[in-house]
Amino acid sequence: MNENEIGEFRSGVRAWLQDNKPAAPSFLLPETFMEVGTDQQFEFLRRWQQKVYEAGYLGMSWPEAYGGGGQPQIMQEIVNQEMAAQRVPFVPNTIGLNWAGPLILDMGTEADKQRYIKNILSAEDIWCQGFSEPDHGSDLGNAQVRAVKDGDEYVINGSKIWTSLGSYAKYMILIARTSNEVPNKYAGLSFFLAPMTAHGIAPTPIKKLTGEYGFCQTYFTDARIPADCMLGNEGEGWSVAMKTLMFERGAVGGQAGGLSMMDLNINDIVELARRATRNGRPAIEDPLTRDELVKLVLEAKGNAVMGSRARIPALGGTYPTAVAMSGKLRSSELKRKMTRFAVSLQGANGARYISEDALDGGKWQRSYLNSFSGTIGGGTTQIQKNILGERVLGLPKS
């Protein structure tokens, strides 16, 4: 596409989003796909995804044969940018759109692609992820949920936890242990595209620190799933899981696109600093607050220019993968700092919580508490630093 075509396409997208952006609902929306806690929230977001897909703005670069748009990736990137700019809601099926979908397109059978891809795009089938367990989170390679082969089925026992969208999902990307008679913990794992409808699978909602619901513990009691649900071969689950995490952390392309969380822009924080009062005065008038605000602007802007530089191979430098591999770490930590600061801008009133008396109904307090979904979910900040230290800097394993 040339500059003109891009410009034209972009304004078309913008106009569509402006015309079709749903009005703000009467209830609080979740801020990320990891926090969908009520049917009302879920239905609202699912309808939005359907609408976006029908307009042709999701999976634009995925093959037409499976319901995608068959168009250049840049178009989806433009759509994503405009979605963030226009502050439209996120699309809830992130796990399907951005992790499971690309994975299936990459290594699934023809039948898998026919069966799953279109319904991921249309939000007909919601996907969830069964990786973490109560005793094994960061140490994913130690997962202990059992999958035992019995004829043309696997029998699953154990429990997964922190399952986002667990109550709404039709499928789960599941990592389970198929063997203990192997040289190391990784070699005993296998990867499944498991139907949540199977008898013996019970997602049970867990209350979050915000006081709302959001994720589940998923219990498996002699749950039988067809053997052909396995993706890759038996014992290859670890490498498939690592591939999934590459998609999840945005280190490789192929995602269907769409926002997975509400965009929080540094300008929102600057604007809040003008409205919020500390000690009876607008926060922005306080010199120490201003200095903190400048620091945050520098971090936010710094992240943006890093993304911009990463697109120029000649400027890759000594560690050319550093920017791409740190995206999740940087954006989640920045969001945590911004929302924490947003609460502090309110001075004494920072102590309020979701209620009419709180500034913006307490949305900033809730945002701050929710921000840990980013710094914990998908691999904690500490684990990200281990990965960067080992894979980018080449330091020895901890």
Binding site: V297, I312, K385
Partner: protein, 368 residues
């Protein structure tokens, strides 16, 4: 948005290769020990490469490129701690290009492109270079004779400079006074002891120095020169960050304690990742500032971009140097450890044209 041309990429490669070859760390130490004001052979090689004329217009014997195009060169020099009068000469050339008369340009720019050394004298003993704070004055007697009185510090390479551009106040107006170094009285230029031993820094004592009208330039480009200085020093710092990170990673991957490489300890690994992130961010801000410098016409946007880059670099490079010492344990406390070379460079650079606190104060006013 960052834009980077094929030509810039080529310059980056050439400059890196050149600096690696000319300035391995042993050579840096030899330069410090020798204490010479100038390595003439090296300087001539740089002149022959055309580097001193990159920003000088073609009619004056240069390449006529933008100052931003020299950023890859300064980055490569910073990576190897190569300190030459190129920083001073490039800044002085900017003063002449933006504020010089045709005669002044004709007289000096071709010489600078050909390797004569020029420098700028801005900062004073009170630590300020701000036109509102300086006390060097261009005075005029009743009979119309002008004299320059005051003093400057941190004048780079003044000991070997042919020409020095001094900022001074004439009444309330800022001027540049163009001094031919050979006309200055003995003892006016004194070497200073500075924390970065690769730098040759001098003080300038100016008392009643006679000034002709053709030695005076308007000072309107002062802000631009200040920002140019920040941009080039940020480029050096970005390179320096890459250099100190290599020293750190090298030690973390070879030193063992408790039968393990110390890089396996997260108390070392995680701060090393923070330094990596700081380095990546600095480099991104640098090339963003370079892009804005070249393409943007709005002065406020240019100033913000450059200050952000200088702010980030000052904070990150000095922190990396600081951690670099700590990570070397007892060895880090020695002169022999290369981390000190980078820390000292970081400290020098941090305070030139304002450290991170200074930049944040200015940015606060620019941003909101």
């Amino acid at each position: 948005m960052i834009r980077f041309s094929e030509e810039q990429a080529m310059l980056l490669d050439t400059a890196r290769e050149f600096c690696q070859k000319q300035s391995p760390i042993d050579a840096v130490r030899q330069v410090i020990q020798a204490g010479q004001p100038l390595d003439e052979t090296l300087w001539q090689t740089m002149v022959d490469l055309g580097w001193l004329g990159v920003t000088i217009p073609e009619i004056y014997g240069g390449l006529g490129l933008d100052l931003a195009d020299t950023v890859p060169i300064f980055e490569a020099m910073g990576r190897q701690l190569l300190a030459t009068p190129m920083l001073a000469s490039t800044l002085a050339a900017q003063v002449l290009i933006t504020n010089g008369s045709d005669d002044q340009k004709n007289q000096w720019l071709p010489k600078i492109a050909a390797g004569q050394i020029a420098t700028v004298a801005l900062t004073e003993a009170n630590g300020s270079w701000d036109p509102d704070q300086i006390t060097t004055h261009l005075n005029q007697s009743a009979s119309g004779e002008m004299t320059l009185t005051g003093g400057k510090v941190f004048v780079l390479d003044a000991g070997v400079a042919n020409v020095i551009l001094v900022s001074a106040l004439q009444g309330d107006s800022l001027r540049w006074c163009l001094l031919d170094a050979s006309e200055l009285p003995d003892g006016a230029i004194q070497r200073e002891v500075v924390i970065d031993e690769t730098r040759r820094s001098y003080s300038l004592a100016l008392s009643d120095i006679p000034i002709r009208a053709d030695q005076v330039l308007p000072g309107t480009a002062f802000k631009k020169i200040e920002l140019a200085g920040m941009l080039l020093i940020t480029a050096e710092m970005s390179g320096g960050l890459d250099g100190v990170l290599a020293v750190i990673v090298g030690y973390l991957n070879t030193r063992k304690q408790f039968d393990r490489f110390i890089g396996s300890y997260q108390a070392m690994k995680h701060p090393a990742v923070d330094i990596l992130m700081g380095s990546e961010m600095t480099r991104s801000y640098l090339y963003h500032a370079a892009t804005v410098w070249r393409d943007e016409t709005d002065d406020g946007i240019v100033e913000s971009a450059v200050r952000m880059a200088k702010c980030c670099a000052s904070e990150q490079f000095s922190e990396a140097g600081d951690r670099g010492i700590q990570f070397h344990g007892g060895f880090g406390f020695t002169y022999e450890c290369d981390a000190q070379l980078f820390l000292r460079r970081a400290l020098w650079s941090q305070y030139q044209f304002g450290d991170e606190r200074h930049q944040r104060q200015k940015l606060s006013a620019l941003l909101f």
